[in-house]
Symmetry: C2
Subunit: 356 residues, 2 copies
């Protein structure tokens, strides 16, 4: 548990380094995915914070984001915060493909590496639902919240299991991946796979040139133009623009982030769309209209791939949703836990939503 | 001359295809660059439109942009338009590195290919100045205008030769490349050079995988989020998002755009800064304050790498500058001549500026 806001601390690009073994696994058995493939012996890695109360009413699901691991969510969990383990039982499920849950990097042949099947956001939420219901016996959650692809999973929870989800707080993410967002990710993917060392996914060593190229492409998108104009990276402890590109961005993608894993999650992201939920037939707008959860939707003012306009569009079409824009220059990373002001903004909103 | 606005026409990604031989060369001799290298036998390729009048007072300089060739500027030139060849003598100099003027691809050893020296925006403007004064005997221009890196050269003209430049109209560009813009270009560069076929610039065939990757990275930046949300590419004749990525973007960078040339111009762009003009000592703000030209500065509302805020900052610090934001969703390509509304906006502004 981090607990304390990290004022003044130089953030590591990937948060506190944690042991890769401080989590548990939920055995999924033969997991048939939305696309038709069956992952045999699939596993969901998760970590919990706090204690489930007697009537099992205090559980919060807080999924991970693109390439994130459960310990990289911990900045929003702590004593005195909205996600207070003294009060809530917080479950952080690791996304399929993130290297801890079933992923290209840890699945045995024949579904290993470049053959890892396509996993949807709905697939992720379905296995999380099994963890919550089958393993913990929880029938109703207090809240689902998440950043970025975690926000996508948050929306998906409200869509897939409306009776279980009274409240959602997606931040810096969307219920459907926009076309521009898909294009941004095409650039990321093209940079990574341009490296011949990638070998169509059958590499023996990580294609580091491609990973570093991907990091540089990502760098322009993750933070806003104004963030760079103000050189906020200096406040983070980086000594020059190039130091930020290498120290933060390249370091980020070289930190145990396997190329096939990144591409698997990238596919999941590009194909995020609540209107493609199994059993639902209708448009994106119709899907949004079915969401009845009390929703506090928090895009960041200068997020370049989840712009506030897109979330305003969604909120207008939901029954009980409020748009609350995170102000400032941090762009997408306003939701990344590196800026105290943004963290306090999100935390205050979550407190308010939980208290309703 | 195109002359007529291309209403209803499906734009080719690279404008009208022109012969590579419809231009002239100005021999620069031994060209010593700002960085100290000397390009022996350097050439400036240019094309003119209209006739120089007797007192040599009707010349307009309209430089090219990143990877652009003179024929890709012609959409803004024509009868009845501001840049009317019946009235003005319009000189379009090709940027050094663009494949027509001296470039990595056409310079003989030893300064060929990966050894092509670093060229600044000020270097470009210095050779254009020689063309204008030595070759045409022009002492004062009517106007300098340009898009993107052409806007950067426009600012540089006002900075380097203030006595010659009474009016400037830079659109979708800046007098100094911002840090965010540098980062965006780092992503482009990393994607291109991730391809092993690039071979550090000593390729025997174009690194097409890298060029295509670069195109996909660029795709997210060239047009705005809202452009993709509205699927405006369909109005351009592209039948799907992927068709736009391949048909427009990959086609764009595969159209005779040599990798070393692109990297040479990318360096020029990243290092654009009027405060580094030879002989000037001072900050960016001080450099802006020296510009006395009547300036009509036109950023595009949703330009992702030359955001209007940056140009507002510049205009506030210039003596005679007006900010006029091009509205709409086209982003950077509002200045690319593919959208009639934007073209008319720019053309009307140029008419007004020329009439003052």
């Amino acid at each position: 548990m981090t607990g304390i806001l990290c004022r003044g601390r130089i953030p590591s690009p990937t948060g506190e380094r944690r042991s890769m073994n401080d989590h548990e696994f939920f055995e999924l058995g033969d997991l048939t995915l939305q696309g038709g493939a069956t992952l045999r012996g699939a596993k969901l890695a998760y970590k919990t914070y706090g204690t489930l109360n007697e009537d099992r009413s205090n559980a919060i699901v807080y999924p991970t984001w693109y390439s994130g691991r459960h310990w990289e969510n911990e900045w929003l969990i702590g004593a005195g915060m909205a996600l207070d383990p003294e009060r809530y039982f917080i479950i952080v499920p690791n996304m399929l493909g993130n290297g801890l849950s079933s992923s290209p990097s840890n699945t045995p042949p024949p579904y290993d590496r470049a053959r890892f099947p396509r996993v949807t956001v709905a697939d992720n939420v379905a296995v999380q639902h099994r963890l919550v219901t089958e393993h913990f016996g929880i029938e109703r959650l207090a809240l689902v919240t998440g950043w970025s692809m975690g926000a996508g999973q948050t929306y998906q929870w409200a869509m897939s299991y409306p009776e279980m989800v009274p409240k959602i707080a997606p931040f810096c993410g969307s219920a459907k991946t926009s076309e521009h967002n898909i294009v941004f990710l095409e650039g990321v993917k093209a940079a990574l796979t341009a490296d011949d060392a990638y070998r169509g996914g059958w590499y023996t060593e990580q294609p580091t040139k491609g990973l570093r190229a991907m990091a540089r492409v990502y760098a322009g998108w993750g933070f806003s133009q104004a963030f760079y104009w103000d050189r906020v990276y200096r406040q983070m402890g980086y000594t020059s623009l190039e130091d930020f590109l290498v120290g933060f961005w390249e370091g980020f993608f070289l930190d145990n982030r396997d190329a096939n894993n990144l591409l698997a999650m990238l596919w999941t992201w590009q194909n995020g769309d609540i209107s493609r939920t199994p059993g639902f037939e209708g448009s994106y707008e119709e899907a949004l209209a079915t969401i009845e959860a009390d929703a506090l939707v928090m895009p960041a003012e200068k997020d370049l791939y989840f712009p506030p306009e897109d979330e305003a569009y969604a909120v207008e079409r939901m029954a009980n949703a409020e748009l609350r824009v995170i102000p400032g220059v941090w762009g997408h990373f306003a939701g990344g836990g590196m800026n105290d002001e943004d963290t306090q903004f999100i935390d205050a909103a979550l407190k308010e939503l939980l208290a309703r």
